[in-house]
Symmetry: C2
Subunit: 622 residues, 2 copies
């Protein structure tokens, strides 16, 4: 029933994409590690720390850092390598992300030559384990208003880092509770009595022996729902002094006499520029979520192909559960969406790698916010579905899905709360990415929207020529890709225009309330946009695929993604006269038929993910 | 903004219901126990076993057992007492359910006087810890086809209990890995070479010293996603001999010479009658899921009322997160549904307590299947939502939601897989509960449906007179309860009639395929039915509430439940011409408005659940 082994290989190559070599190399490196089994928390943390060294020795961290410091200058490749870690132990993935992506990435992106020279090699080699200390207990999403202060003292040419109140403690900080020696601390920079907004300062938090530095208080966050191999902690600073050179001064500097200077005017703009350079973290989380989702689906599909339940009376045989429509309905649209998100992720990684101007950068930031939200929610939902689809077996740790569920749960929260991120996406769309919008308040947004035409023009992001062709020649058949694309585009345009009209009506006095009352509308607009971008990426991938058998299969998977997405929001299409009741029912029927058609291919589709077997060792997957 | 303390108390009394005294007593007993904190698995199991004794000493198990053996004969009360345990440690709740509900319940329901005399006191006192060994690795849902055998040997007047193949091992059995001394083993009863279907046999599995009995192999299921205080295990029997008297012989007996007799004809009917007597377990799980949901909502609402994020520009103050529409949308419809399910649960417990004929019993079994499925899915979804609504704090174990999530996850699977249960509900509806339908195959169902009128008559289950009045005098206003009830009824009737028409077309040859192709339709019919039954229970509860302030509040909560349920399935109402696009949008708008109206009452609504503060001790709930 399945396609040929060569067919699976062609499918896998299509998934491997631009960073195929990095991907295969990373799979090999990961495949050489051994799953930890059941460990107590401290043992587990020790195991993760040890494996991190194995990754360092295997060259994993080199990929993304500058060649002049021993790296490979491959930004896109570094995200792909991180993504592959998502097939393995997720605590290890997150710990790697904290050390090299967040900590190392901040030093690289926010620091200057001196910092790079001094720290990057030690960061890559793990000689200097570090933390990314941004979140505070009272400010998780609204990081622009963090309360930690870094006050410049010209007499000693030092910054004094301080935690002014309990809500300003740094919280959930990875690498803080056990291993970190240094932290990139985000704090309000004050010099000469003037606050210049949030900046990043390097603060040593532990001495060579592992004891907290004077004035630094460290607390363990304790057990968590998952990711217990990562040592998250809390940090308090009591007037801790660090040299002036510890300021990561690419976007704002303080002269020895205390004079502040910055290449970017405006506190808000500066802060969001700094945040923007850290976009790789968000993109990485979306990729890691994708890998975990693939692994859960691989386990559920394998089990669904062998587990039998209830007898088919005409043959007397017990029925393989994946032959039930309800089981297909659970797994196959989720599998199709996982494919779609994979290609959207690949395209986003390319955009990150190639970004060359401000407008592209802002579009990338918006894309990263949107895809991170959609991909991590998809992960949470799909892994839950896979757990349930495997029944009691899915609840046992030995079958791996329980761990995937627990570990990925926080992905919807960290690197930006999904609900907040989708609002960023909508703001970007409403302002056509003209400028950083992170610091526009509701009234600022309302004025901005009022100044714009509310006639939204959908800009196709990928494969423009192909999509133009598909749309212009399209019929109204449900399986016509051009029709599908038109539905996605039309919905985005309509939802966005309606939103713009609502927001324009706001006055200075009621702007907050108008925005708040439209919050569900805002989230819907962002979702509709992300869905469209994802579909375009899938269309482009089908078009790129040179193997005819694999391309034909991808084409059907793309149909299932498109139609199940329309089905999920068909109330909107009905409410807005885009689907007649008859046609809406036909969409559901078409999803059922696609499930039946793809069911014999399910195993091939998960095999093509190329997950190393070492990390799929579970009784249900045998 | 909230109602008076007296108002909260009136609300709580309304929730307390018919078993108010049992409920308050159980809350007091539970409130006297202390949460375990973080424990290793074996320590945790020991803690749970110890607390079980505290519950026994507190009289918890007496409630449901017969007075003649020292119990209190209060079946309904026993379910309510179990439900209250859901506010505490869920491993303890489940372990109590295994010992007294499943093991003790099976001895009580399937055994006869001799068994009761011999075992019930020892079961209540924990002198005899036991297991309920039904599920096998290869047969989790299709328990009618279990493979374990109990073969009668007239020479020694013993049953020989045997595990014939690896897939027939008993799996996920609570109390098996550490504490159980005896198991109720479900097995195919064979005597004189003839199989009489599944029966239950008491098999000692450990001796007084705790070592496995000869021929019994026990394996630990190992770590699980949650409920790690419960010792789930696997059991294999190698020709284990037990005396003839160990057969729980209420529904099938074997004479010393091997002659089989039963008061019920037909293997299938007999088996489903036996299963039916165990309905209390399913009802209890629905109740426990409700308590866990309430606790998660209480935590999320308390945190949502204190946590602030982003500044409101017109006042300069940081906004309390529960003031955001998106946050209200996450928590308040879920809270309303939790109220609705509470009242439906209460009504179901009453039906269990008062059941007096076969038809009522079958209706109860169907109700239990449906509410168990809907309540446990609601729990999984709502607890997930609460976790996300609390951000990073929600991920820390100290804030309790992580544990609730992990522990309740399997509720959608155990005591019947939800998807299978909803199919049972639909079968019951299609056959008007005329007979046990568990063993009707698709072709049997098709013939049955063909013989019936396909003109479904909705039978109101609760508060018939009130609902008749509401419906007959109803306008078309969205907040008119009569209109809401009509929508629920109309949807159920239409979906069910359409389903009946589809299934009637099946022939003997294609019956399986016709049923399989309609599986999503089947599930939808069951959901629509359960939703209606739940709404009716809520309507009855509002009507019963004598305190005007509490009644007015409940009335609004009921509106939110009804309209958010219609909103969630509004695609169906649009597809079937029940809602115009304009009106569908008005439903969404009304949900938003109800969220705003109920937001100041959110804290009162969760306070009225009466969760003991000992079990709400978390930094986010301070």
């Amino acid at each position: 029933m399945g396609i040929t082994a060569g067919g699976v290989e062609a499918l896998r190559e299509s998934l491997d994409g631009r960073w195929g070599a990095v991907r295969r190399g990373s799979v090999e490196l990961l495949g050489g590690l051994k799953p930890p089994g059941e460990l107590e928390r401290e043992e587990y943390r020790a195991w993760v720390a040890e494996q991190l060294h194995a990754l360092a020795e295997g060259g994993h961290p080199l990929i993304g850092f500058p060649a002049e410091h021993g790296g490979q200058d491959d930004v896109g490749g570094s995200v792909v390598a991180f993504e592959v870690l998502g097939f393995g132990d997720l605590s290890l993935m997150v710990k790697a992300g904290v050390q090299w992506g967040l900590f190392g990435g901040a030093v690289q992106a926010l620091g200057t030559a001196g910092h790079h020279e001094r720290y990057l090699r030690a960061i890559m080699s793990l000689e200097l384990p570090g933390c990314f200390a941004m979140t505070e207990t009272g400010h998780g999403s609204d990081v622009q208003h963090l309360r930690t202060t870094a006050t410049y003292d010209p007499d000693t040419e030092e910054f004094v880092v301080d935690t002014p109140d309990p809500s300003a403690r740094k919280d959930y900080i990875g690498n803080a509770a056990r291993d970190g020696r240094m932290a990139v601390v985000f704090a309000q920079l004050v010099t000469g009595g003037v606050t210049h907004g949030v900046h990043a300062v390097l603060v040593p938090i532990r001495d060579g022996g592992g004891a907290p530095m004077p004035g630094v208080r460290i607390e363990d966050c304790g057990p968590k729902a998952g990711l217990n191999g990562v040592d998250n902690g809390r940090l308090w600073f009591e007037r801790v002094r660090v040299p002036r050179a510890n300021l990561l001064n690419r976007y704002g500097d303080v002269a020895p006499d205390g004079t502040y200077s910055s290449p970017i005017e405006g506190e808000g703009r500066r802060f969001f520029t700094m945040l923007g350079t850290l976009v790789r973290g968000r993109i990485s989380v979306a990729g890691g979520a994708g890998s975990a989702t693939k692994k859960a689906l691989a386990l559920a599909v394998r089990y669904g192909e062998t587990r039998r339940q209830f007898t088919r009376p005409d043959t007397g045989e017990e029925v393989v559960v994946l032959d039930y429509l309800a089981h297909q309905r659970r797994l196959l649209p989720a599998l199709a969406t996982t494919y779609a998100l994979h290609f959207a992720q690949e395209e986003m990684v390319s955009a990150l790698h190639d970004v060359s101007d401000d407008r592209q950068q802002r579009e990338l930031e918006s894309r990263a916010a949107g895809l991170k939200a959609v991909a991590t929610w998809h992960a949470t939902r799909t892994i839950q579905t896979c757990r349930e689809a495997c029944g009691g077996a899915g609840y046992l740790s030995e079958n791996l899905i329980a761990g995937l569920k627990a570990d990925t749960d926080v992905f919807t929260t960290f690197e930006g709360d999904n609900t907040v991120l989708l609002q960023l996406v909508a703001k970007g769309l409403l302002t056509s990415y003209r400028d950083h919008v992170g610091d526009l308040d509701p009234w600022g947004m309302a004025r901005f929207v009022a100044d714009q035409a509310v006639n939204v023009v959908i800009e196709r992001t990928a494969a423009r020529a192909i999509i133009d062709r598909l749309v212009s020649g399209s019929s109204d058949a449900l399986l016509d890709r051009g029709w599908q694309v038109r539905q996605f585009e039309d919905r985005e345009k309509h939802v966005l225009e309606g939103l713009a009209r609502r927001l324009r009506r706001a006055s200075k006095e009621d702007a907050f309330d108008v925005f708040n009352a439209a919050q569900d509308h805002v989230l819907h607009a962002a979702r509709a946009h992300v869905d469209r971008v994802v579909l375009e990426a899938f269309v482009a991938a089908v078009d790129r695929c040179e193997d005819p058998e694999a391309a034909a299969l991808l084409d059907q998977v793309c149909d299932l993604y498109a139609l199940s997405t329309i089905e999920a929001d068909r109330a909107w299409f009905l409410e807005h006269g885009r689907l007649t009741p008859q046609r809406a029912k036909a969409v559901s029927q078409a999803v059922n038929e696609l499930c039946a058609r793809l069911r014999p291919r399910a195993r091939d589709l998960v095999d093509a993910f190329g997950i190393p077997e070492t990390w799929l060792t579970a009784p249900i997957a045998a």
